[in-house]
């Protein structure tokens, strides 16, 4: 199929996959183009998972270095972004594992996320956003992941299922339960209504 006949998303996917194929073949400088295109969404993915800027930046760095290290294993069959988020999830799990090893036992089960208000939120006193971050932090990891991937990273349920190696029905069930649970937590934190 000619690239000209593809939709905008397909154009982006085509371009990303082509760039990564080039990186795989040794033109590693093209990773810079992929970095410029994807580091902000990836940073936001980690920000919403961890709530911490420094950790999120470290994880973004880690993901791009892992993509270079494992570039020869890249298979162009699925979208580049799926591969990137797959590596991102692994990097995050490794980070959690390492953190758990480093923490004394009594601190291992405390709130996993350090919540930070962004400068904009501090200025505007964005109480809603702050409450939402706290509520997200209290969601179990898997539910938080599916919700973030579908709501913010614009991945389709089918793609999330591929990413998590599960059935699409399982992803939808996770999203369903995650939203209900998040609403409940938010309601409790707010002490009011969810509107």
């Amino acid at each position: 199929m000619s690239p000209k006949n593809q939709g905008t998303n397909d154009v982006n996917t085509y371009s990303d996959n082509k760039l990564m194929e080039d990186v795989k073949e040794g033109k590693v400088e093209k990773m810079a183009v992929l970095f410029e295109k994807h580091h902000v969404p990836l940073f936001n993915f980690f920000m919403r998972l961890t709530g911490n800027r420094n950790i999120s930046e470290d994880l973004v760095q880690d993901v791009f270095m892992r993509m270079l290290k494992y570039r020869t294993t890249y298979q162009g069959r699925s979208k580049f972004t799926l591969w990137m988020y797959q590596i991102g999830r692994n990097a995050h799990i490794d980070y959690l594992r390492k953190k758990k090893d480093e923490l004394p036992l009594d601190e291992q089960w405390s709130d996993p996320i350090t919540q930070e208000a962004s400068p904009e939120e501090k200025l505007e006193g964005g109480q809603d956003a702050q409450l939402l971050r706290q509520a997200l932090a209290k969601l179990p990891l898997k539910k938080r992941e599916v919700l973030i991937l579908s709501r913010y990273q614009n991945l389709k349920y089918k793609e999330i299922a591929e990413l998590m190696d599960c059935h699409i029905g399982t992803v939808k069930a996770h999203v369903h339960r995650a939203i209900k649970e998040l609403g409940k937590i938010y309601f409790e934190l707010q002490g009011g209504t969810v509107s």
Partner: protein, 268 residues
């Protein structure tokens, strides 16, 4: 339809990915079922509420660190595989000469240049002279510009690819890349030029050239690539070009959608 079956469609309903018949089925059901109506309203409220989290931007340190690490990775690669690269290079050169095709005869003129590049490459990989490094950069630039002028699209593509590895290319190289972006008959070569120019976006000449190029492109794939680039670098100066392109006749709907998103994002 039973409540359990209807509820299974709620996640699709939230992302707007239901077919009309399924969406109608939900509407019909919730008109009579207060419990499902309440659940869907609550879920929609949470889904909408999630939109209040603003997009965050990382510090400049992240970009600096990435480019530093990328350079280190490249240097490491070069240290590990110089002989492999040389072998590949000579094999490719040998093949081209053996083919005896007149189109490749121009390569003869570049033999001293190639030898210089190889020597420079070897010495550079041993961490030697900065003068040599500059000379190699100049030679790469010359070679890139020469290749961009070739008749064969494959050679022009090689010229663009060669420019990827340049640091702070000179005006002549940038002009050649911008000229390729605007006038090359091959869409693939023009797309490769967009990627190359992306890497040199800190140059005012590149910035201005790309903004001007947007309204000159007639291929939707190029238009989308340029809009993506300008939005990703948050180039507010491009807003006027975006609006001008929006007003153009026979604009591809996908490009129009991309432009609308871009205008919204840059105006924020």
């Amino acid at each position: 339809m039973r409540c359990e079956d209807i509820k299974k469609s709620f996640p699709d309903y939230l992302v707007g990915e239901l077919e009309k018949s399924a969406a109608d089925a939900i509407q019909t059901h919730i008109a009579d079922c207060a419990a499902c109506r309440q659940e869907l309203e609550d879920m929609s409220a949470v889904w909408t509420k999630l939109g209040v989290l603003p997009e965050e931007h990382p510090s400049n340190g992240l970009r600096e660190r990435f480019y530093r690490n990328l350079e280190e990775y490249k240097a490491e690669m070069n240290r590990e595989k110089p002989l492999h690269h040389l072998k590949q290079f000579f094999a490719s050169l040998f093949y081209r000469f053996r083919s005896g095709r007149p189109a490749y005869q121009w390569v003869l003129g570049f033999i001293p240049l190639f030898i210089g590049l190889i020597l420079g490459y070897i010495m550079f990989s041993k961490g030697q002279d900065t003068d040599l490094r500059r000379e190699i950069q100049e030679m790469r630039q010359m070679l890139a510009v020469s290749l961009l002028d070739q008749r064969s699209p494959t050679e022009r593509l090689r010229g663009v690819n060669l420019s990827y590895g340049l640091k702070n290319p000179d005006n002549r190289t940038i002009e050649a890349l911008l000229d390729t972006l605007n006038n090359d008959p091959s869409v693939n070569v023009r797309l490769a030029a967009v990627d190359a120019l992306y890497l040199f976006y800190n140059s005012p000449q590149v910035r201005e050239g790309i903004i001007q190029s947007l309204t000159r492109q007639d291929s939707p794939i190029l238009q989308v690539a340029l809009v993506d680039l300008l939005v990703s670098v948050q180039e507010r100066q491009a807003l006027e070009s975006f609006k001008k392109l929006m007003a153009a006749n026979k604009l591809d709907p996908k490009v129009k959608q991309k432009l609308e998103q871009g205008i919204k994002e840059l105006s924020y």
